[in-house]
Structure formats: C-alpha cells, structure tokens
Symmetry: D2
Subunit: 334 residues, 4 copies
Amino acid sequence: MINVGIIGYGYWGPNVARNFNVCEGAKLVSICDLNEKRLNFAKSNYPFIKAYLDPNELISSGDIDAVAVVTPVFTHFELAKLALENGKHIFIEKPFTSTVAQGAELIEIAEKKNLKIMVDHTFLFTGAVRKMREIIDSGELGDLFFYDSVRVNLGLFQHDINVVWDLAPHDFSIMNYLIDEEPKAITALGSEHFGRKLEDIAYIAVHFGNSFIAHFHCNWLSPVKVRRTLVSGDKKMLIWDDLSSDEKVKIYDKGVEIKNTNGIHKLLVNYRSGDVHIPKVNNTEALKLEADYFVECIERNQKPFNDGEAGLMVVRMLEAADKSMKNDCQKVYL
Amino acid sequence: MINVGIIGYGYWGPNVARNFNVCEGAKLVSICDLNEKRLNFAKSNYPFIKAYLDPNELISSGDIDAVAVVTPVFTHFELAKLALENGKHIFIEKPFTSTVAQGAELIEIAEKKNLKIMVDHTFLFTGAVRKMREIIDSGELGDLFFYDSVRVNLGLFQHDINVVWDLAPHDFSIMNYLIDEEPKAITALGSEHFGRKLEDIAYIAVHFGNSFIAHFHCNWLSPVKVRRTLVSGDKKMLIWDDLSSDEKVKIYDKGVEIKNTNGIHKLLVNYRSGDVHIPKVNNTEALKLEADYFVECIERNQKPFNDGEAGLMVVRMLEAADKSMKNDCQKVYL
Amino acid sequence: MINVGIIGYGYWGPNVARNFNVCEGAKLVSICDLNEKRLNFAKSNYPFIKAYLDPNELISSGDIDAVAVVTPVFTHFELAKLALENGKHIFIEKPFTSTVAQGAELIEIAEKKNLKIMVDHTFLFTGAVRKMREIIDSGELGDLFFYDSVRVNLGLFQHDINVVWDLAPHDFSIMNYLIDEEPKAITALGSEHFGRKLEDIAYIAVHFGNSFIAHFHCNWLSPVKVRRTLVSGDKKMLIWDDLSSDEKVKIYDKGVEIKNTNGIHKLLVNYRSGDVHIPKVNNTEALKLEADYFVECIERNQKPFNDGEAGLMVVRMLEAADKSMKNDCQKVYL
Amino acid sequence: MINVGIIGYGYWGPNVARNFNVCEGAKLVSICDLNEKRLNFAKSNYPFIKAYLDPNELISSGDIDAVAVVTPVFTHFELAKLALENGKHIFIEKPFTSTVAQGAELIEIAEKKNLKIMVDHTFLFTGAVRKMREIIDSGELGDLFFYDSVRVNLGLFQHDINVVWDLAPHDFSIMNYLIDEEPKAITALGSEHFGRKLEDIAYIAVHFGNSFIAHFHCNWLSPVKVRRTLVSGDKKMLIWDDLSSDEKVKIYDKGVEIKNTNGIHKLLVNYRSGDVHIPKVNNTEALKLEADYFVECIERNQKPFNDGEAGLMVVRMLEAADKSMKNDCQKVYL
C-alpha cells in the first residue's frame, strides 16, 4: 500500500486526489495547499486526511511514501527535490521543471535513492493516444511522412508561462510517445500581443534529421477550439480529433504512389482511397489508469515510461523552442 | 471591344475561354494549344475561333488586343514577353513567373508600352474574399493579431513545381489583398518524400516586423481536405472555410482583454464571447468578374489591383520561401 | 425564506438539492430516499439536513414549506397529493402525473389551498429556449409554417414508461412554451421491439386546426444522438441544435415567396437566402434559474408559467399520443 | 445496338442524352422537345441527331428501338402508351405515372408486346445505395428495427405536384430496393402554406404489419438541406448521409440487449458500442450504369429490377400517401 500526500489543491489537484483515493494500491493520506479556503475544501471532500498549509510539513511527515506535486511549474524543482531528499517517490505535474538543469538534477537524486519520478502527462493514458500507439506500432500506417498538431482556442492565458509551456507539453509528450524517432532540433516562431513578453501564439517544428517532420500550432487567440493531430504514412493516414465525442481517431486507407519514369513530364502518380475506420477507444479516465500505473511501478520497482527522462525531453524541447523563438526561428539542436 | 487570344487549353484554359466568350466588352478570337487533341476540343466548343498549334502565330496575329497565358509557369516569361513585345495586354496565370527577375522584366516592358498585365489570382474575385476585405477594411476586427491559413489535401502532385509554388500563390495573394501591412521576411520549412527534390509539405511564416504574423500550411499528403483561414483581431475574429457551401465566412464577436496590475500574480483577464455572424457571400463566378475587370482596366487605362506588381510580390515570397526551406528555416528578407 | 424538503435522491435529485442549497430565498432542510445508500450519500453532501427513509415523515414534518418530488412518475400523484394536503408547495418532476385525472385533482387541491405547483420542465429555463422564445415573440420569423423536433439516441431504456413518456415531455413543454397556438389533436405512430409493450420509437404529430403543424421524432434505437428542432416561418427560419456547444441557435434569413398568376404553369417562386445569425445564449444553469423562480413565485404569490396547468397539458398530450399509437394513428382530440 | 430517342430536353434530359450517347450498346438517334430553344440546344450538343418538336413524330419514326420519356409526370402515360404501341421499349422518369391505373395499363401493354419498361429511379444505381443493399443483404445489421428518412431543403417548388410526389419517389424506391419486406399500409400527414392545395411538408409512415416501420420526412420549407437515412437493426446500425462527400455510408457496431427478468424493476439492459466503419463507395455516375443496364436488359430479354412493377409500387405508395393526407392520417392499405 502506497501512502500518498498531495501538494496543491487548485484546478487539477482534486482530480489527482480523487483518483488516488479510489486507487486500490494507494491510500490518500495528506493534502497541502497554501490557500486555506482550498484546504478546507479538500478536508470537506476527504474528512480523513491530514491537511497542511506548509508543504515542508507534508513532505517531512513520516506517514507517506509518495508526494504528488500539483503546483505551478516554477515551484516544481524545490518541492520535488525536497520530497526526493525525504525519500518520497514523486508524481509531478507537467511540464516537469522550469529548466533542463533542474530536471536533470532531480533525476540524478532519484536514481541515487532508487525513487520513482512519474511526470503526469495524462494524455498518454487516454484511450485515443493508446489506440494511436497501437496502430502506429503495428506498422499499419507504413513509413511516416509527417506529424501535424493544432491545439488552439481562446485563452486561458497563464500569467507566468507562455503558450508553448502551457500547451506544447501535451503535444510534445504525445508525439514522443507515438513516434520512435528521436527529435534532433527545433525551430519555432512566436508572437505576443499584450506587452507581457510571453508568447500567445507559436508555431514549432521538430526536426529529425530526415524527411519526417513534426509541426505544432499552439495558440491562445483563436475564436474556435481545435485539438487535431494528423499522422500521415505511406500506407495509411490517421486523424485524431480530441473534441469529437464518438469519432476521436479516424484511420484513412489513403495513399499516393509516385513513379518517376524517364523524361521530365513522365510522372506517374497513383492515388489510393479506400475505407475509413473509426476504432472504439477506451473511455476509462486516464488519470485513474495513471494512478494505478504509478503504484504498480513503485511496487514492482519498475521504470515508468513517463519517467523523469521522458519529462526532461519535453522540457528540453520547450527550452529549445523558447530559444528559437527569441532568435528569429534559428535551428536549435537538442 | 477587346479581342482576346488564349494560349493553353488544358485544365484551366476552358474556363478562361468560356468567361471571355460571354464577357460583354471582349471577343474570343483565337486559341492555341500544343496538343492537337485539345485544340480540336477548343474548336468544337467555339467553332468560330482561329486555332493555332504554335503560340508565336497566335501572338503575332494582328487581330487580337490581349493574350491570356494559361500555360505552365515555366513557359510564362517567354510567352508573356513575346506578347508584350507584340503590343498585347496580358492576362496570365498564377504564379506570374518562375523568378523575380523575369517578372520585373515583364513589368518594365509593359510599362514602357503602356500595356496591362493582370495576374489571374482568381480567389481575389470570390464573394468570400471580397466579403473578408470589406470586414477587415471596416475595422470590425480591430488590430490584427495573426493570419493563419491551412490548405491541405491528398495530391494533386505537380511534376515541375513543389507544393509551395502550387498552393501558396492562392494564399499569399489573398493575404496580400486582405492585409494592409507589407511583408518583410519569410521563414519556411519543407519536406519531401518521393526523391523528387520537390517539397510536398511546407510550413511558411511571413514576418512583418511587428507582432502580427502570418502562417501558411501547404500539404499534398493530408488524408482530408482542409481550406481554412483564421484572421484574429483584438475586437473580433473570423474564419473562412472555403469548403463550406453555406457558411464560408464566420465572424466571431470574441476577444480577450488582459490587464497587468501590480504584483506578479495579479493578472486580470477578461474573455468576451458574443454572437456569431455568417454574412451571405456573392456567388457570381469569380473568373467572370475578373474577365470583366480585365476589359474594364484596358478600356479605362486603369491599373488593375492584381497587376504585375502584385503578382511579382507573390513570386518574391515564393522565391524567399524556397530559399528559406533550403537553408534550415533561415529568415529571408523580401 | 422557503424551507425545502426533497423526495428522491437518485439521478436528478442531487441537482435539485444542489440548486436549492445555493438558492438565496430557499433553505435545504430535508431529503428522503427509499434507498439507504443514496440517503447516506445525501447526508455526506449536506451534513446539516434531516434525512428520511419514509417520504410521509418528510412531508408531515412541520419545518418545511415546499416539497420537491424527484421520483419516478408513477409515484408523483400520491406524494404530491399528500404534500399539498399537508400545506406544502410542490416542485415536481416532469411528466407531472401518470394520468390527466391525477393532474387535474392535484391542481384542484392546490388552488383550494392557494399552494403553488411548479412542474420541473428544466429546458424552459435554458438560454437556448429563452432566446428562441424572444425571437419568436419578436415576430422575426413571421407566420410559422411548422415545428419539427428530433430527439433520438441509443437508450437509455426506461423500465416503466415508453419512449414518448421519456422524451416527449421535453419537447411538448418546449413547443407549448414557444408557440402561442393551442394544440387541438394528436396523431402518433409507435413501434416496440423487445416484447415489453412499451414503444421504443415514436413519431408524433400535433395538429392545430390550421396549416401549422408540429412533429416529434422520439427514438431510443438510433446509432447517433440528435437533438434538433426546426422552426420555420415565412420571414425567417431557425434551428436549435442542443448538442452544439457554441452554435445552439441559428437564425436563417431565408424564405420563399410564391405567386400564382394566371395559367397553370405560371408559377412565380422567389427564394431568398441571406445572412445567418448565431446569437449568444445565456449559460447559467437552467435549474438554478428555475429554483430561484420557484421561490419568487411563492414569495410573491404569483402563478408560475410552468404551473400545474402547463404540466397537465403535457400529460394530456402524452395520453393522447398513447391512445393514437394504440389505435393505428387515429386522430385524438385534446 | 439499341437506337434511342429522347423526349424532353429540360433539366434532366441532357443527362439522359449524354449517358445514352456514350453507352456502348446504344445509339442516340433523336431528341424531341416542345420548346424550340431547348431543341436547338440539343442539336448544338449532338449535331447528328434528328430533332423533333412533336413527340408523335419521334415515337412513330422507324429508326428507334427505345424511347426515353423525360417529361413531367402528367404526360408520362400518354407518351409511354404511344411508344409501347409503336413497339418501343421505354425508359421513363420517376414517378412512373400519375395514377396506379395508368401504370397498370402500361405494364399490361408492355407484357403483351414483350417490351421493357425501366423506371428511372437513378438513386438505385449509386454507389451508396448499392453498398447499403450489400450490407443489409449480408445480414450484418441483423433484424431491422426501423428505416427513417429525412429529405428536406428550401424549395424547389414544383407547380403541378406536391412535395410527396416530388421527393418521396426517391425514398420509396430506395426503401423498396433495400428492404425485403412488403409495405402493407401508409399513414401520412401533410400541410400546405401557399393556398395551392399542394402539400409542401409531409410526414409519411409505411407499415409492414409487424414491428418494423419506415418513416419519411419530405419538406420544401427547411432552412437547411438534409438528406439522411437511418437503418437500425439488432446487430448494427447504419446512416446514409447523401450530402457527405467522403463519408456517405457509416456502419455503427452498436446495439442494445434487453432482458426482462422477474419483477417489475428487474430490467437488464446492455448497450454495446464498438467501431464505426465507413466503406468506400463507387463513384461511377449512376445514370451511366443505368443506361448500360437498360441496354443489357433489352439485349438479353431480361426483366429489369426497376421495371414497371417496381415503378408502380412507388405510385401506389404515393397515391396512398395522398389519400391518407386528405383523410386525417387515416391508414390506407396498399
């Protein structure tokens, strides 16, 4: 049985608490929030918990095995480091840390102490992402041409991070999970419109040193909400529309074959267009599966796939995107 | 009455012929195609025309005032130059020319001889683009944040040009028409997948030296067809979906106001979300309006807004995109 | 301050409780449920309430002014009658009663004792229905041609009522609220497929003694969920799509004018097709507005528009539909 | 080689002419239209044809084997009868005739003379309808629950027939083609709004003497165009959306199982929701396939499935619908 303490009971914390509370191998023991009103709300939801206003007290208490850090990113490093130093496994919100250096330091500490770090990239536990991974792994799409992601809507503006740090962690982690190739470099272009030095629009390309490219459009200023990813291969193509309730993943039996024969104008192109298939995707709450997996990784002393390294890769990409945006779309190697 | 000869009776030529044939101020006099079969088809459609296999003969004939050049781009310069030198006005397919140098030379010749050049950016004569221009000019959208265009589908591969030269002329010309600001630089990223050294996917950003940015996604390898443009301003936002039959242009009374007050966490954000309006757009065939306008410009000795200069700007942007794609997304000034 | 007791804490009861709990003029005093588990759940949500397993005890307690009856329809009459006889106002789930006779009796008792009956047709308090009423009342649509409603999905099967009693109360109450004309007769056609003598598909027409007709398609066996209503007039037409998050009500400036001139083939038809307008609709939770209105009606001794008479009209229509379905689509007068 | 003469060169005639002109086993020989302008248009399209203003001349000419009657329905009987009496096979527009009696008489004549009648229910030759027939015939949907068809739009008003005779022939013929059961009775409800005694809205139900029902909504006064059919079975369900370009037929692996166990509240309901499949449908022009089939039936002396009997069944259903509409939705047996 893993005893869990949660730091942060704002927007996402209640979901983390709720899922650890019903997780078979875990016990929700304590919750901390700086805001007394939120803390009282936590107590009314879970009258049995120990409630703390000071995260240090929660972390240093002897009755927990793991700490869930559900706070703004600028606080991650300090809290996670303290937790690790106190011998606690950590379940930590995305993005993992504010800098690559911080993430690397946390990983090092965790390794020395044989503690687990799980970065909460919740999307990796959704039915849609799991189904896409299954499809891509099976080779059904063939060799991949490109990965194109659009995540745009109106707001919500974050006060301390730009749109890349807000939205791209989702898409970077999903792409890293789905695509076997390792990202080599980033070019990014951003713009900001409210004098805050924080981009509210960004276009980010990820380069792999070959013809496969990935592109991400993140935007807080779109009148419509779009959450759409295209993955196109030489055998089939797929679309993931996360806003669709019933047709999240569509697989198109479409393709193109090009044959260059002799002579400049002798291009033979064959288009293929067949059936469309919409597989059913699992609707189990992603965070529930992730909480179960966190407990399983600790109990079996097993490395999570969404561990510190995976979380660090995302931070590395975010840093590179920031640097490229500041330098006229310069190519930044990872 | 403007007598018109048409060179090229392939995919688009028949539309040009049909519209000049019913254009009040114009008379369709002659058609040329290298392919005898196509030429016979032209004759069966318009038994009264003079038919030529050799474009030089059409151009040098004394019975026409204007030549419509409806041929592949690599032939534009030679044909248009000859036509201008023979004292003919020209109506020429987009993109205007294969290089900036060629376009500049044609403009110079036309100016010396007081001949008109009209580049056939047909979209500028559609009801949707006209309506958007009306809306943007009225100031209804306020200060513009960004322009985002997606033009993707499966195929059709061109054998002599890349996806940028195939699709972006539409979007560059439309943006230039809608947006008052002058483009300053281009960054572009492309990829090709069939060993042809011709990109089949491209992401292009246009920079204006301020916070307004424009971005274009052109793609021949998408399983679904998308033709969608977002223009977002600080008062309202609009979406143009060219595939929608009844709701092409939607105007959203949406916005965001951000106030930074004292203190790092004291961000005040107001979102505004009001009505949506879908104006009726004119359904008159765009090419009909353009043919009428061509005649009008010649008769009134008036400079078309889609003249050689406008066409040249598009070619300049295409060249810059090519250069940026070849150089790792380098910023190329226009 | 109106003290409220709630009978029934199943699917809908918690929503009623939550809204009366935050309603300014009301105080949530007691909750009753036959199921001990549900009752404990109610107590955990509202530790301050009095909890009853026996509805008679709740009803006869001296500390409440009003009873919310949130139970299956076959229990409504008995519970509501007892509540009225005990001098309590009632807020009662739709459909009001199982028979017209029951509803009429409740109304009579309430009138004698000057008590209020409000039938919980929650949709009448949604932003979309309110907006439609505003539009129709303004005359913007002109004279109405027809009202067409489709409410279909897969399940959820009710064990004691047919699809008409399950779904049509929504649509009958909405139509009665939107349309000034009084329904005169019903024809209905149903079918059942599981040997339960309870229709799972029904098509119901409501007749008004003139050319305006209303039609309702209710269906538990559709693979897709549709919640769509068309109201068409001689000036404009509107569509209400309740599943759309952002575009619930669309007003089409479309119409047709027909002129019969002399001679059989001299029909002059003009179609008009203009802008589409999508008004913003209020997102306040409907049940919250309804709870406030219930309190207001009691305090001001004012007749609710969704009173027993309105609820009874819906029951009358349901009974007529049942009768018509049993008799080969016979016209049943109301 | 079947020599074909066409009567009627209005809206649909040119399509019939074009397809018989390229049909391998047929030769387009003559065209007739009462309107001289239309007849000249026909001659400009097919300079080789014999052109007639008088249908009698075309019919009595010795150089044709078959007559295509592409005229308004009220002229069908007279023209078709004359053609049959002159020994010509007939290809005739839907609906077959204005009355059941007329249709029966034509069938009788044709049988005596061993001539073919093909009623042009073009939809039966579309890829979507063929695919649906394949699916239903395979048993993939299981036992059918219902057939629901919606065919609504704004206009186009016909001057001599009501909305049922205009739109329902499509849907009746498609349903008869897809569904093996024989229709037993019709109930229908209509309304008209322009003082023409011709219904512009109609709801029609077809009864089969069992729990399967079919329902048709035909409407000329809808602000949006809908062409959608649901066919629901106990194993799977399908939707045909004829306005979708790429996803016309969708098959849903969805269903419901209900078990009534002992006791009134012991209803066990299982919902099943699996994959969705969108088969590719053939895009060959339906009328081309139909023209080929007409020639094939004549050459092989084979009875077309869309013969006079099939066309007559549709007329019988139209007559029944009219009668039911005039008599308060009375059940009219076929």
